[in-house]
Symmetry: D2
Subunit: 295 residues, 4 copies
């Protein structure tokens, strides 16, 4: 079993750290919020007063932070983690941030002989709690091989997408596509309903046809089709509109930097931005269905 420092115990990080403890790892955690720390120490983790203290002597450092600036803040600079770690430690950043920041931090790490893996996740709070997250990893083969067994304590699918930053790129490609599936499926269901079809029957037909996609399988956006989907529970998240909007922002920034054309992804970002502004930021992202329905 490994010695692991876990930095960042939010909605996702908390249950992820707990799963590491349950798997038998020796986990030391750090977060600015005492209550978040307590949740994890209650199940057997230690805690530390600073990120650096938590990381001292660890085999693995895992960070789960809200945005690029937090990741830079924790790792870089004279008082950052990379200045304090020795080269035996493997760094795993599971935050969803832009690939450019990943590459910048990984380059500093490399100068100090420290291996790093970017490993953003999909699967939401439910997946974090159940230990069924998907990890999309970027980094060298060796680093990925070393990280994988640890990630398996928190997730079901552990993918190696490519070099540094590739995990982030894979995640935003996937989530951009997910947003398109969600809007497209909502449109198709509404068009059917507006023309007299029953959404349950239409969903069955498309699920068995070339319209099949993840949202029809497990996350139908029309109320009443799937009992457990957010759509049937007042669009309680799930995955919030504002988080999808954040991921689409990352996707668009990536597309701008690579001069890529993403007409549907770009449209999805604007539809979600408008939807968030109309009071739906905290609703599940499948609530975009409502923007197409008679209010």
């Amino acid at each position: 079993m490994a010695t692991i420092a876990f930095i960042g115990l939010g909605n996702m990080g908390g249950p992820m750290a707990i799963n590491l403890v349950k798997a038998g790892h020796k986990v030391t955690v750090f977060d600015l919020v005492p209550a978040a720390v307590k949740t994890v120490t209650d199940v057997g983790a230690s805690s530390a007063d600073t990120a650096v203290a938590a990381a001292r002597g660890a085999d693995f450092v895992i960070t789960m932070l809200p945005a690029s600036r937090h990741v830079e803040g924790v790792y870089l600079g004279e008082s950052g983690l990379l200045a304090a770690l020795d080269s035996n430690t493997l760094v795993i950043d599971s935050s969803t941030i832009d690939a450019a920041t990943v590459r910048k931090v990984a380059a500093v790490a490399k100068e100090r002989g420290i291996a790093m893996v970017d490993a953003p996740v999909s699967g939401g709070v439910a997946g974090a709690t159940a230990g069924t997250l998907s990890f999309m990893c970027g980094g060298d083969d060796d680093a990925f091989a070393k990280a994988k067994p640890v990630l398996e304590a928190m997730g079901k699918n552990i993918f190696h997408a490519g070099g540094h930053g590739a995990g982030q790129v894979a995640k935003i490609c996937n989530n951009m596509l997910l947003s398109v599936l969600m809007v497209g499926t909502s449109e198709a269901l509404r068009l059917g309903i507006d023309n007299g079809l029953d959404p349950v029957r239409l969903s069955e037909i498309m699920l068995a046809s070339s319209g099949r996609n993840w949202t029809l399988e497990v996350y139908n956006p029309a109320p009443g089709v799937m009992e457990k989907a957010p759509a049937s529970n007042d669009y309680k998240p799930g995955f919030m509109t504002e988080l999808m909007l954040k991921d689409l922002g990352l996707a668009m920034e990536t597309a701008i930097a690579s001069s890529s054309a993403t007409p549907m992804g770009a449209l999805a970002r604007s539809l979600y931005a408008s939807h968030a502004r109309n009071g739906n930021a905290k609703l599940d992202f499948s609530s975009i269905y409502q923007a197409l329905a008679e209010q």
Copy 2:
């Protein structure tokens, strides 16, 4: 076994009629093109000089025609089929046309005591030949129940979408969604490739994640990912750009009539219209991927 008249022996109708013959039905065909007729009589069908002659005494009349005006032309008017058939015959129209025309023809049929089912298909020429089409049917429960065994000789999935026209609505909802899946998947793959990812690996990741959809399963638009997909065979169809454009036109006309909002479907139609105009009308519809790639 049933006595069946089959009208319209194009790329789809020909192999569909052949499958009916192979299933042991007594089939009489009609088409204006002698070569098309010969293909089916060669395997054992009879032929007739007019649609009405083919239909005389049949248990079932099946039509597979290019557009609404052909369907109206064959069924309506003094010399049309509905004036000639008796009420024992079940009419099945498998053409992809607008739901309004279906309802108009079905209403005339009803006046004469003739039951009708609209039963457009998906699955393309390959599915027609293999007998694995999906049929999306509209009509009364009784008529559907009577049509189903006959359709099973030509297809694998026989869906009952609702009343008259519901088959057409279900089909265009599905195909509109398919177009969105195709464009969205193409964008996600290109965005990944533009940022250094391998399309095979990215496809695997998204297929196992929330980006999963039919195009990633069986019809990947990036060349080289799937050996048998059109993308790996110079985008030889498959399902042509101009046919997707036709279906998207039907979807948009339906959306206009019901005041439905279909932002992604509408965008897909314009992208396909532009793609067709740029010389790609006869390529497979997955070639929209190329519009996003460096030429």
Copy 3:
């Protein structure tokens, strides 16, 4: 002065007919709504009990009707106007309908030796009342030349767009473009405001730059920039969202029929459809600005 029959006295037709009376023409009107008739007879028009009775002996018949089916109903069939008129009468249809219906009616008219002009208008109720409408006309040069003096009693700009139906095509091209100007201008103003700019100053800058367009000139969608614009008066119409949606539907049907690519026009239609469904159908079409603003 001419003898004119005017059929259809709605929000637009009423004031148009009144302007014909004021210009000294001998006007006989017909409408199903007695109150609408009275408004025009009060200023000196005669009325008739049927459209045919109103049209008897007239030099000009002008119709202003809500949709294609009404135009077909009034003109075609055994009891329609075209069966009753003689070839000295010039028919002017000012309804906004699809070009195909115009061509169908014009063809029947031609068989009977009756000349016809399609002459849809822009300028709204305010323009109809003030006599400052724009007419976009389709038809032969002779017919246009004959219609022009009469139209000048109701409008300021009388354009000859081309042959039969060209007036309708010009109008929907213009109105599709207008919808794009309105949404694009709303986006640009919101983006500026969201980043600290004053909408008045930003409007001045864009008006003097390459962003200049009709909406910035006379119809600014941001509240408070123009005192008399609908935006500064709770988006009271003006030109209602649902009417713009109707025109965009006609534009999209035309685009589908000609396989034209209209990515922005198609997006505008879906944004307006969604906007209408969210309770804004009766607001001015510049209220699309609100869909982009924090609610």
Copy 4:
């Protein structure tokens, strides 16, 4: 007359500096490309070996650089301009860059007591040569008042958009709107042409109606309508597709940062990205018209 240092003598900067010399200012220039320097010294400017040497003792420093990183490179750091200038010098940056970089540089300038104005331009090479550029300025009232007379030697319209960065925001709002006008006008013209209208006549009609916009006035995208427009000269720029794509990238980054919804602007960016990838990066941006036309 003022002493002015001008840094960056590209396609735009060169003619701008020449206009300052012609207006009687004492101009010292710096650029890495000797030929670019020579063009301006030929008309009477002095040159210097470094940016800092050029700026020494100047009343005004004007920079015209390709991207944010160049602006940061020239101004910031120990050997940058801001470390060398004294507080009598007014800094004017006419580069088109993101507002965040402007604010960062302006903050450093302020610490050193140096006033700064961001003053991006529109009008293209033709406007730079003719001295008819539009300047959209951000900065304090005093700084703007001081900069204005100098800018008037290079431009016709000098706008004060607001505080630091507001010039950049105004420019990208305007150019995002311009891209929407261009695509929307192209669509409307193509839709008309596809339905039998003459583009000259349709342009006249829309120019006199609510579709009026800058592109119809001076930059018609349909070949043959305006003799001097790029469209009538094989789409020779003018304003290149790749430059519009750059500006749309800046606009989208700004929209992402402020969570703004820009559906049309986002669509325009993807259409231009696709257009650039299809071999049109160096053509005038009005060539987007061709993407909608039969090839």
